[in-house]
């Protein structure tokens, strides 16, 4: 995985327990985030995704709300039909039997910059109220306290996908920050301020263990639109490092259904490659 996405190996923090009749075991953090992200993919056609939670979400969406969804991988694979759940964006099982494998100039130049991606999935160490992302450093760029992997294709995914979903493992004021330590991947508001018009509208969904933040387009801040059962609006506001706007009617995210969990656990990731 070279475009940073949520780290599937990160410890699951405070996963809400949901009773799902017919499916044993509590709902893990990975399962919750995957299910919620999959529902948001309804009616979307082309998704640019890394490995991990985005893979689970798109596979589940394919089996539920978006049967015609096509995943484009950052390695250049389109229309993959993997025999096993891929462990990386370049897993050999993605290539064997795929519908197409593109070169990097074709993938980034023609597919992404050419405007063929509906939804891009990104992760980040830090996100701000406009959906700008930091994947480069914690601290100063010149002498960071933590050097992170950097953009990968994140800058291009943000600029050129019609919209971007962000899955964040952590929802705390350090990750949801008023001021990014560094803006690797700018949303359209920052680009427009510099006189550059990107193709897409930037981040439209941020999915976390506390709920869903949404933003409909240029000039809008992220606002809280839904919380998971048992989570309060105040809890989310306290976990967010800026004065988080809240939708007029904050919904409750329906817990993963037995059918969703069964598909996820038995069909999508039976070996629990990402569902650990």
């Amino acid at each position: 995985m070279t475009t940073p996405t949520a780290d599937p190996s990160a410890p699951a923090a405070a996963a809400p327990l949901t009773d799902a009749p017919g499916v044993t075991g509590p709902v893990t953090s990975s399962e919750l985030l995957s299910v919620v992200a999959s529902r948001e993919l309804a009616s979307r056609r082309t998704v640019f995704a890394g490995i991990g939670l985005p893979t689970l979400a798109t596979e589940l969406a394919h089996l539920t709300v978006a049967p015609r969804i096509e995943v484009v991988y950052e390695s250049g694979v389109c229309g993959a039909h993997p025999s096993h759940l891929p462990e990386t964006i370049a897993d050999a099982v993605l290539i064997s039997g795929a519908e197409a494998v593109l070169s990097m100039p074709a993938l980034f130049g023609c597919v992404l910059q050419g405007g063929h991606i509906d939804v891009g999935f990104l992760g980040a160490a830090q996100i701000d109220r406009w959906g700008n992302l930091n994947t480069s450093v914690i601290g100063e760029w010149e002498s960071p306290s933590v050097r992170l992997p950097g953009s990968g294709g994140g800058v291009e995914v943000m600029a050129n996908s019609r919209e971007v979903f962000v899955v964040m493992r952590r929802h705390d004021p350090r990750s949801f920050t008023g001021t990014l330590d560094f803006c690797t991947t700018p949303g359209p508001d920052r680009a427009l301020a510099e006189g550059i018009r990107p193709l897409g509208i930037g981040v439209t969904r941020v999915i976390t263990e506390l709920g869903i933040l949404a933003r409909e387009g240029v000039g809008e801040e992220l606002r809280l639109v839904a919380v998971h059962p048992g989570v309060t609006v105040e809890q989310v506001r306290a976990a967010t490092g800026w004065d988080l706007k809240v939708a007029d009617a904050v919904g409750t995210v329906p817990p993963p259904t037995a059918a969703e969990l069964r598909l996820l656990r038995e069909d999508v990731d039976p070996d629990r490659v990402y569902l650990r």
Partner: protein, 318 residues
């Protein structure tokens, strides 16, 4: 682009030792490409064995082999768009260098993937720059002065002058790629993920192609569309089976995911990293010894089955 040539091309086939000694010099700019697939690890290890110094390494995804070359003291500058150990964790040496200049600093030029791709495109076509719809509003131009904005000479969609970022060409002294097969003259065939290899070769002054196997001319000519890099762009052909480990070669061997995970732990401890280099790089004469030391049981674990393509009919005039 000056290319080494001999009448029959047979002079291009050489050992890894000879290829690195001939084409990789101290202070050079070296591109190693292969986007998660076909990473030229064995070439990186030979560069370490020969003790090259002060290299500028250009690589989109700076991963394990780059961390090893940095740790061995070969690299003073890195040009990259992703500096992580795939999804398996961190590059310990790279982080120590950048975060604490420990033991010495590493100059780092940060790009995004398409920024790197455009640098290779400009380099391979000898263009002064290449435009891309990235970087508007990013902090990257503030830390990388080579990311510059120009005004398009043509009106934008709204009829107004359009601002766009550009990147400069990259022209490595030498580009090294790994491939499944080539003929003795360097016609190089790659299938599966083809990444940025062709552009990286054409951008460079010299090119080394490392292959899993050398095949007869007739094998290449039976499927010319599969030739990603033609002979005229290649200066050295090195036969080095399993030379992309721990990455993979489609149809030859699988990715060693366990080693990717292990590297995060090995590289975190400088002492352990030095021991690893001593045993697996300095302690092996060449890549054949490295692969032999891993053992056949290990390689059986990375073996892949067959998935043959349907042959195509190129036709012939009757």
């Amino acid at each position: 682009m000056e290319r080494t040539d001999t009448a029959d091309g047979a002079g291009k086939v050489m050992s890894m030792r000879e290829a690195v000694a001939t084409f990789v010099h101290d202070g050079a700019t070296v591109s190693l490409e292969g986007f998660t697939h076909l990473i030229p690890t064995a070439a990186g290890h030979e560069i370490i064995r020969q003790g090259r110094r002060d290299l500028t390494v250009v690589r989109m995804t700076a991963d394990i082999v780059v961390d090893q070359m940095i740790a061995a003291g070969c690299v003073s500058r890195l040009v990259s768009s992703f500096v992580g150990n795939s999804s398996a964790g961190s590059l310990g040496e790279l982080r120590r260098r950048i975060e604490r200049a420990d033991p010495v600093p590493l100059a780092f030029e940060e790009y995004s993937h398409y920024g790197m791709i455009c640098r290779y495109l400009a380099g391979s076509q000898r263009l002064p720059f290449y435009p891309l719809r990235s970087y508007g509003g990013s902090d990257l131009p503030a830390v990388n002065s080579d990311l510059r904005k120009v005004t398009s000479p043509y009106p934008g969609p709204d009829g107004e002058p359009e601002q766009i970022y550009v990147v400069p060409p990259v022209n490595p002294d030498v580009t090294i790629i790994h491939a499944q097969r080539a003929d003795r003259r360097g016609n190089t065939q790659i299938w599966g993920l083809t990444g940025i290899q062709a552009e990286a070769v054409y951008a460079a002054d010299k090119a080394i192609v490392v292959v899993e196997e050398l095949v007869g001319d007739e094998v290449v000519r039976s499927d010319p569309n599969r030739t990603l890099v033609p002979a005229h762009a290649v200066d050295a052909v090195v036969v080095c089976p399993r030379g992309a480990h721990p990455s993979f070669a489609q149809g030859y061997y699988d990715r060693d995911n366990a080693f990717y995970r292990a590297w995060s732990h090995i590289s975190k401890d400088p002492e352990r990293l030095r021991e690893w280099l001593a045993r697996w790089v300095y302690g092996t004469a060449d890549h054949a010894e490295y692969t032999a030391r891993l053992g056949e049981e290990f390689w059986a674990g990375l073996a892949v089955g067959e998935a043959l393509s349907e042959p195509v009919n190129y036709g012939r005039r009757l």
